[in-house]
């Protein structure tokens, strides 16, 4: 069997197991999905009301609708829960058997991400298509170029959010507060990544600070590529930012892994 075929079989087995486990937890999966939809829906409701008197920073009601529907999808395609998994693997000794296998634990995490994203984003896409049938405001033009660029931006954002989450989870090698750090990161990203409002609506000082960090490239940029708000030089700038920050977080991950694994106390006896 070729090397590539072996990896396809490994990932196939990991993704299959993740889906089989999901089937055991249908209710909680539905609740997570609702949570993923509710936050952008609430934000959209607020901005819809505010934009009733006319566009806000260039965003009319229909722009907000498209932005938050795109956000809903992009968020589900890029979200990563790995810090919570890793924290529990490290603290409760579940990393032990994973380290004894001839497969880096990150592969299991990547497969979990693929399984989760395929399932949840698939459902959101169906919901979006149904809503778009009745509500023209959330329709997006079928431009293959734009969808291709969106796919690339989403892939880079998903990779970056994965490495952010995985690396933060690795902090559990040093501290029992790794998930608290991730919660803090999620709190900051609520504003700086565009989850609560398009970045154009942030106060200039905050938007200026965000531009120097990775947050806009996690979510706002791929959303703007999808809605068509990012074009020309902004596209080049956005992709460059994604590549740079992805590189930084991969370097951070490599450092945290190599240092942390040497420090690992291997809990459990």
């Amino acid at each position: 069997m070729s090397r590539a075929a072996r990896w396809v079989r490994r990932y196939g087995a990991l993704i299959r197991n993740a889906w089989l486990v999901d089937l055991q937890y249908r209710a909680s999966i539905t609740l997570w999905l609702l949570w993923g939809v509710t936050e952008p829906a609430v934000a959209l409701g607020i901005w819809w009301t505010i934009a009733g008197d006319g566009p806000v920073a260039g965003y009319a009601r229909a722009d907000f609708a498209r932005y938050f529907f795109a956000l809903m999808l992009v968020n589900q395609l890029t979200i990563a829960w790995d810090s919570w998994y890793l924290d529990s693997w490290i603290r409760e000794g579940e990393l032990n058997f994973r380290l004894a296998r001839p497969l880096h634990p990150a592969h299991e995490a990547v497969a979990e991400n693929i399984a989760y994203k395929a399932r949840t984003a698939g459902m959101i896409l169906v919901v979006w298509l149904l809503v778009a049938l009745a509500w023209p405001a959330v329709r997006l033009p079928l431009q293959p170029g734009r969808w291709a660029l969106t796919a690339l931006a989403v892939l880079l954002a998903a990779a970056m959010r994965f490495f952010i989450s995985f690396t933060t989870g690795l902090l559990a090698f040093w501290t029992t507060r790794a998930t608290a750090i991730m919660d803090l990161h999620a709190g900051v990203s609520l504003f700086l990544s565009g989850r609560i409002a398009p970045l154009a609506l942030l106060p200039p000082a905050v938007a200026g600070a965000a531009a120097w960090l990775w947050f806009p490239y996690m979510l706002a940029f791929p959303v703007e590529v999808l809605t068509g708000a990012a074009h020309g030089a902004a596209l080049g700038h956005g992709f460059a930012g994604q590549v740079v920050w992805l590189g930084v977080w991969i370097a951070g991950y490599r450092l945290a892994w190599s240092r942390g694994i040497k420090r690992y106390g291997a809990v459990g006896g």
Binding site: Y25, G93, P102, G269
Partner: protein
């Protein structure tokens, strides 16, 4: 490729944060953290030959699991050298990991919500086991461990004993030449313990695997291993045969008696240390070399219905080794 295990002056020191009790202690630890070095394993040296099965004994916190985790590459040692199957464990990578199995009695790799066969399939993919080999090995493991009834039940519905059997099956599908088993019978009832022991003996017989086994249950060790390593407070106290350990530590023998009418505890106490007396049964402990002569005197002096001379139970021997050290009775 060799499947032996070598450890030379292997050491592991953990740096742990110390904290006084109460809120004040917590605050002080926050402002000025204090650390203490815990020497979990100190300069441990041993060699296990390919195909050997060795019991690794020690009380809680003695350093057994830490040693096992260094041998499997989970922990990086603070000092010393290790070679397992020709590899340095923490740099051996996937090639090394394919040659070992690690079974931890208190941690499981089975996916909790799915039937065990799903974990087996996952391991087949992870270890690149060809389909034909997988079928053949699974059939063998299912027969040896009597798993046919449980393969399709979710793991969460299995008994502890059934789960451990499935853990062993999952760990052995890639047929590793070296097995590290940490408390594989922990918490199991007597029947399940015996089933696991029977399986391990049969598996090792068939495949000639090298096995290092830690256990709290002496029966595991006496049933499977002829050689033991005893560790306490991080130091290796003994490395050798079980028989030799008994001869070295147990300088006494037990005389078990069934008495006739008229024998009293006071009369028995004159012959040795009376360990128990519940008429008509009594147990005396006497120096090893005097056991035969004392027995003859007992038979002559007291109404004895039955008499047998026994070695100390192995549990007592090991307990003495843990608490007093292996050299104690030689002194």
């Amino acid at each position: 490729m060799a499947s032996g295990i070598t450890a030379e002056r292997l050491s592991k020191t953990f740096r742990v944060k110390v904290r006084d009790p109460g809120l004040g202690g917590a605050l002080r630890a926050l402002v000025r953290p204090r650390y203490r070095d815990v020497h979990a394993v100190r300069e441990v040296t041993f060699r296990i030959e390919p195909g050997e099965i060795v019991g690794f004994l020690g009380p809680n916190g003695a350093g057994k699991t830490t040693t096992l985790k260094m041998l499997t590459g989970l922990l990086h040692p603070t000092g010393g050298r290790v070679e397992v199957a020709g590899f340095v464990p923490w740099t051996g990578g996937p090639a090394f990991k394919r040659r070992i199995a690690l079974v931890l009695g208190n941690r499981q790799q089975l996916v909790w919500d799915l039937p065990p066969e799903e974990t087996f399939q996952l391991n087949r993919a992870i270890y690149d086991v060809p389909e034909a080999d997988y079928r053949e090995r699974l059939a063998e493991l299912v027969a040896l461990l009597q798993l046919s009834e449980v393969l399709e039940k979710p793991v969460r519905q299995l008994s502890l004993g059934e789960r451990m059997k499935c853990e062993l099956a999952a760990a052995l599908l890639h047929r590793p030449p070296i097995l590290f088993l940490d408390e594989p019978t922990l918490g199991l009832d007597v029947t399940a313990q015996e089933a696991i022991r029977g399986f391990l003996a049969a598996y090792r017989e068939r495949h000639g695997a090298t096995v290092l086994l830690t256990s709290h249950y002496m029966q595991d060790v006496t049933a499977l291993a002829s050689r033991v390593l005893i560790i306490n407070r991080g130091r290796l106290l003994y490395d050798g045969g079980l028989d030799a350990l008994v001869a070295r530590i147990a300088r006494t023998k037990r005389i078990e008696l069934v008495l006739g009418d008229g024998a009293t505890a006071e009369a028995l106490a004159a012959f040795g240390e009376l360990k128990s007396f519940r008429f008509p049964n009594a147990v005396l402990e006497v120096p090893r070399e005097e056991a035969a002569a004392t027995s003859a005197r007992l038979l002559a002096a007291l109404p004895v219905a039955d008499l047998s001379i026994e070695d100390l139970p192995i549990e007592d021997v090991i307990r003495r080794a843990f608490t007093h050290g292996v050299e104690e009775d030689d002194a």
